[in-house]
Amino acid sequence: MSHDHDHDHSELSDIELRVRALETLLTEKGYVDPPALDELIETYETKIGPKNGARVVAKAWSDPEYHARLMNDATSAIAELGFTGRQGEHMVAVENTPDTHNMVVCTLCSCYPWTVLGLPPVWYKSAPYRSRAVRDPRGVLAEFGVTLPDETDIRVWDSTAEVRYLVIPRRPEGTAGWSEDRLADLVTRNSMIGTALALDPSDLEDAA
């Protein structure tokens, strides 16, 4: 450690020691195997993340039959693409329309559809989001830069059980004939939580 007197750093080193001691003890007791820990981390760093969800959304935008299967039984439809298991055992897809915007929260902990979105960002697990998403979603959306017409219905899904919700954002204008791969680039993590809209094609050009 550097001789940094930043308070955050000294707090981090306490927890760092605590976690290290915990892992050492649990390993010594034979309850955990360190290579399995490495493998768990590697999996969520490289294999499971919002790219999975973006593929689901892009396919739903492109393929009406897949869209129908997804809306009818999201767990099976998502499994068709190989995304199954932990924190995605019971999936439901909820679709944004011109009339209704959907947004997902877990007010009681941090429930999140891991199989399609990976691990939740810090803000999703934080008190400001969890407390306010259910009471003032328009205010929350404004903080994320999203302003919806006053007449748009807003539906907030509080993930209180083991059912996990994936928001299907609206397909942006000007994307007719796009391939699924290209469409998937428009589908951000936040758009699948409901705190953003899908990117506009011009956003991709800006980034290029």
């Binding site: 605590r18 019971h90 934080s126 407390s131």
Partner: protein, 219 residues
């Protein structure tokens, strides 16, 4: 329980802090805290509901001033002691002093993909008919149990309507406390914003909450 975790509708937490291109883990210890928590869950020594209860029973001041992986770490420390896997003294010293307790499984690297892909489904066979059907109007119970529950405070004693019947799912209120799964019908219930927050609510707001049958009365 009415712990610090039950955040819906609370006020004063300030703006939502977003981070551009946020990594999964900000530090090495977060990676390890995450993985140790999952690996210990895989030993089958407690349920996911019990681990949620361990976190929500942290003192509110600790819960609200800790990052999420700190909360996980403190929850895990409680679980291993409560379940007799580690003694207080061992935790304090960071050293094994007593023989280990047998566990159902120790996760190996080659098991990880299979265990994650399988997950832990909580739907169970139907053993009695559902009390409610889609369209039924219900009132959530007024209740303040000290045990684990998944009926948030903001949605208690409120009129709602059954919008989905998810099937029979493991009941967290019992499963968190070693009283078995007691599988029970789970419903998707829709509430008007104004029924929950009163006349100040956004008039276009509805809330959808997944609730088990014992939380609901016919209205």
């Amino acid at each position: 329980m009415n712990g610090a975790q039950d955040l819906g509708g609370q006020m004063g937490f300030g703006p939502i802090e977003q981070e551009e291109n946020e990594p999964n883990f900000h530090t090495k210890w977060e990676e390890r805290a995450f993985a140790v928590t999952l690996a210990m869950g895989a030993t089958g020594s407690w349920t996911l509901d019990a681990s949620r209860f361990a976190r929500e029973t942290l003192p509110p001041a600790d819960y609200l001033s800790s990052s999420y992986y700190e909360i996980w770490t403190m929850g895990l420390e409680k679980l291993i002691v409560e379940n007799g896997l580690v003694s207080d003294e061992e935790l304090l010293k960071g050293q094994a002093l007593t023989p280990s307790k047998p566990v159902r499984r120790v996760m190996k690297a080659e098991d990880v993909a299979g265990i994650l892909a399988k997950g832990g489904p909580v739907d169970r066979p139907e053993h009695k008919p559902a009390k409610f059907k889609i369209g039924d109007v219900i009132r959530t119970k007024r209740m303040h149990p000290e045990h684990h529950t998944r009926l948030p405070r903001y949605a208690r004693d409120t009129i709602g309507r059954i919008e989905a019947v998810h099937g029979v799912h493991v009941f967290p209120d019992s499963n968190a406390h070693g009283h078995g799964e007691q599988p029970t019908w789970l419903y998707g219930v829709v509430f008007k914003g104004t029924d929950i927050w009163g006349p100040d609510s956004d008039p276009k707001l509805t809330l959808r909450i997944d609730l088990w049958e014992p939380y609901l009365d016919p209205a």
